[in-house]
């Protein structure tokens, strides 16, 4: 019914999608799987009419289509449900379903009773009790998705695309969603289901399409394929020597995390990081890796467990204490959390160690600049001047400034969340070399990364998290794409 062949989409030098190919039949649930960054989201946005492919063949019921807007895609019968549904919090549930096409009464004005009636009917068909007259604000994600599905049904959608709909749902809610999806399939709707959870994919879907690095790899009948084969196809690429970690002497334990738990976020997290060692926290987006890092650094609270730095217990919920104990934290979102974008490079570098340059209560500008210069030089930050605002630098150089900022505090342990996200390929390897150097100088590194090659290339040890728990601890020798991916996605064969 829907077929997309060889769709490509580039953003400047970045190839988001090289060969987007998928075919969805009427009355089937079709899974689309791939690693983070495999191009699934780009493909979905093309189907939704948000992106216009640079090339490729897009057909609906055999006819070529070129969507210029979301409205056109919708009119053609494609409905997309995103992981985070986009409802209007101030409008009622009924109005959210019918926005832009509210039923009209005799006066040619919108008829609210009629709108409510139709919404109630939809919910009855779906078998869910949601009050159409309440505002959308405060609804659970699961209910919001049901409303999106109700909207799709009322639009008479032929193709329903669900982008990781289960990521935020509980078990009961997933069951309800699947029941609705199966009912729709039996009525002839084609469903594209994107998920990282293989148990769900194999439970629900009729066929599976695998993508990797922006390319179509294969399509299988679910009945004729195994999880292992899918995983191999998802990760199967040459890791090679892209990210060499320099040999470093691994000595004493710097960080010990023991039985750390936070209700609903992560559970029973225990690991240690030694000086000179790079430990990678791998797993899918949303597995709770960043949350663990934030708890260790004292930004977020935790319920139980203990954190020790070089044997001494670390105070909970106190980043100052963490910094004093020798911890550094490079957050994922540089722009929001790591840098003050409007301040100069020098100011940003010295932000964490202001007190060192204070003379008689005032910051000594000369000392500050000297320290900043020293660190920028060592990290090869390419900035026109120390006085330029950080916002003028490239992503890679910004990352270096963040690193410089923490290195200036002379840390024992550096937590780096997604070190190369949004950084171009050239600078990526520089950042990698930098991290490797730091380990070589005896700093313990805890690196969170969603990029498998980065994890496998850099880490001495890999901790894999899945849904708030550590599901595998792999030494460098044992870590390969299959084992990491398996621990990150599959609930079977893990210490539950």
């Amino acid at each position: 019914m829907l077929s997309l062949t060889g769709a490509a989409k580039t953003f400047g030098p970045v190839v988001a999608l090289a060969d987007g190919t998928v075919e969805i039949r009427a009355g089937e649930i079709h899974a689309l799987v791939g690693e983070n960054g495999a191009g699934k989201s780009t493909l979905v946005k093309i189907l939704a009419g948000l992106y216009h492919p640079d090339s490729g063949d897009f057909r609906l019921s055999g006819e070529p289509v070129h969507f210029r807007s979301v409205a056109e895609s919708k009119a053609a019968g494609i409905s997309v449900i995103y992981q985070e549904p986009t409802l209007f919090p101030d409008l009622t549930v009924a109005e959210n379903i019918f926005i832009g096409r509210q039923p009209k009464g005799r006066s040619r004005l919108i008829s609210r009773p009629e709108m409510r009636r139709q919404a109630t009917e939809l919910f009855e068909r779906l078998g869910v009790p949601i009050d159409p007259s309440r505002v959308a604000e405060g609804l659970s994600i699961a209910d919001q998705q049901i409303i999106e599905i109700a909207k799709a049904i009322s639009l008479d959608a032929k193709v329903l695309v669900m982008d990781e709909p289960t990521a935020a749902l509980s078990g009961v809610e997933v069951d309800r969603l699947f029941a609705v999806a199966r009912a729709l399939r039996d009525k002839g709707t084609g469903i594209l289901f994107i998920s990282h959870r293989f148990d769900e994919v194999f439970d629900l879907c009729d066929r599976i399409t695998v993508m990797r690095d922006g390319r179509y790899i294969a399509t299988h009948l679910t009945a004729e394929v195994t999880v292992e084969k899918i995983v191999r196809e998802m990760v199967g690429r040459d890791i090679g020597t892209l990210f060499p970690k320099a040999e470093a002497e691994i000595s004493h334990t710097v960080l010990e995390v023991d039985g750390l738990s936070r209700s609903g976020v992560f559970r029973d997290i225990s690991f240690e990081v030694r000086a000179g060692e790079i430990v990678a926290l791998a797993g899918l987006v949303g597995a709770g890796r960043t949350e663990v890092a934030r708890a260790v650094f004292g930004i977020d609270p935790y319920d139980s467990g203990q954190i020790r730095v070089e044997g001494k217990p670390l105070k909970a919920r106190n980043p100052q204490a963490a910094i004093a104990a020798g911890l550094g934290f490079v957050p994922e979102d540089r722009r929001k959390q790591g840098l003050v974008m409007n301040l100069s490079v020098a100011r940003n570098v010295t932000l964490t160690l202001r007190n060192k340059f204070v003379t008689a209560g005032l910051i000594n500008g000369g000392k500050e600049r000297a320290a900043a210069k020293e660190w920028s030089k060592r990290l090869q930050v390419k900035a026109g001047s120390q006085e330029h605002a950080v916002s003028t630098l490239s992503g890679g150089n910004q990352q270096k400034v963040v690193l410089a900022k923490w290195l200036a505090t002379d840390p024992k342990l550096l937590i780096i969340d997604e070190p190369t996200r949004g950084i171009d390929v050239g600078t990526k390897s520089e950042v990698h070399r930098l991290i490797s150097d730091l380990a070589g100088r005896g700093i313990a590194i805890l690196m969170i990364s969603s990029e498998l090659p980065e994890v496998l290339g850099m880490a001495d040890r890999v901790l894999v998290m899945r849904e708030g728990r550590i599901t595998a601890q792999l030494d460098r020798a044992d870590a390969d794409p299959e084992s990491v991916m398996h621990a990150a996605t599959s609930p079977t064969g893990v210490t539950e």
């Binding site: 409205a71 919090p89 101030d90 926005i99 009961v172």
Partner: protein, 349 residues
């Protein structure tokens, strides 16, 4: 008409309680209610102290005082609902009011209707300038209209200089618009009520009108849904300008003199009226009826404080307290309903 709107509006504005709750709950749900109660109390207290306050002339004065602000507040509501704002309304009103004076000075025989339409067209053009800058240059409306506030005022200064037009320069029939009454309502007040009713029907009962709420509720989601955000916002600015133009013409009818400073500072009264009337400053909820009530309350407060012989300085402070109270009530109501929603959801699981 406006009563239908109010009731129909319940679910979207403060109908956050979801399930049916008792009398108190449904009262609180009506976001305009506190304003109505405050207005009634205010009028009652003042009346008890000074019975002249509700004489036919007293009522007429109250309505006349509110008329201009009500029209401006109706236009402003269109914008605030979409998470925009227009701070240049006072300057637009001033330009159009002075323009009205100039037109009558040049062509005393021009039909009043033509002048009304000309004034609205002039205002619409000024509104389009704002709308264009906001939607094309993508600069926040707060900044753009703060700029045009001064630009429009500058034009007014340059055009008017020290010149003023007085009521005597205008046809008698034009001035009569704010003197003659129908069923006790001055004619310009009836015009304002018609404006509020029309805007209310548009916002509650038409698809483009509902789009405005969607845009203010979540602009990104609106875009994803294929709502023409820029077009709607632009048209809202245009409509707001036209209404400011209408208010400008009526201002020239109501007040004796128009000149370079006419309408200065009015934008704050207008925004205050909308906020007091329950229009959420971050968009997405509120009604034009509420904004009109807010305007009536604010102007009535000034009159009744004068009638009660309260010091002028305290009058402003009291208006300020009223605005803060409106915001606190709104915040409390939404916190309360959020808590309630959590509880009802917990039961479902």
């Amino acid at each position: 008409m406006s009563s239908t709107v109010k009731h129909e509006e319940k679910p979207t504005t403060a109908g956050r309680t979801g399930g049916g709750s008792g009398g108190f709950g449904s009262l609180l749900r009506l976001r305009e209610l506190p304003v109505l109660i405050a207005l009634a109390l205010l009028v009652l207290i003042t009346f008890l102290n000074n019975p002249l306050f509700l004489s036919p002339q007293g009522i007429k004065d109250l309505l006349l005082n509110a008329t201009i602000i009500v029209i401006l507040a109706a236009g402003q509501t269109l914008l605030i609902i979409t998470r925009n704002i227009d701070l240049s309304v006072g300057s637009m009103l001033g330009l159009v009011a002075f323009g009205t004076g100039s037109i009558f000075a040049a062509m005393p025989d021009l039909p009043i209707l033509a002048v009304l339409l000309l004034g609205m067209a002039f205002g619409a053009v000024l509104g389009m300038v704002n709308g264009f800058l906001v939607t094309v240059a993508k600069v926040p409306a707060l900044v753009i209209t703060l700029g045009t506030l001064y630009v429009f005022r500058g034009f007014n200064n340059a055009w008017a200089g020290g010149k003023q037009y007085f009521a005597g320069d205008r046809p008698e029939a034009f001035g009569a618009l704010s003197v003659d009454t129908v069923l006790g309502f001055p004619i310009i007040t009836l015009l304002a009520i018609a404006v509020v009713a029309a805007v209310a029907v548009y916002m509650a009962g038409t698809r483009p009108g509902r789009d405005l709420y969607a845009i203010g509720s979540d602009p990104e989601a609106a875009k994803v849904l294929g709502i023409k955000v820029s077009k709607r916002v632009f048209l809202a600015f245009l409509a707001n300008g036209a209404l400011a133009g209408l208010a400008g013409v009526l201002y020239a009818s109501r007040f004796n003199s128009v000149g370079a400073t006419t309408g200065t500072g009015m934008e704050l009264d207008v925004v205050a009226a909308a906020v007091v009337g329950g229009v959420a400053i971050f968009g997405g909820s509120g009604t034009v009826a509420g904004a009109a009530l807010g305007a009536l309350l604010l102007t009535t407060i000034t009159s009744s404080l004068t009638a009660l012989r309260v010091d002028k300085f305290w009058q402003q402070a009291i208006v300020g307290i009223l605005i803060l109270t409106a915001i606190v009530i709104d915040r409390l109501a939404s916190l309360r309903t959020a808590r309630k929603l959590r509880m009802s959801e917990a039961r479902n699981v």
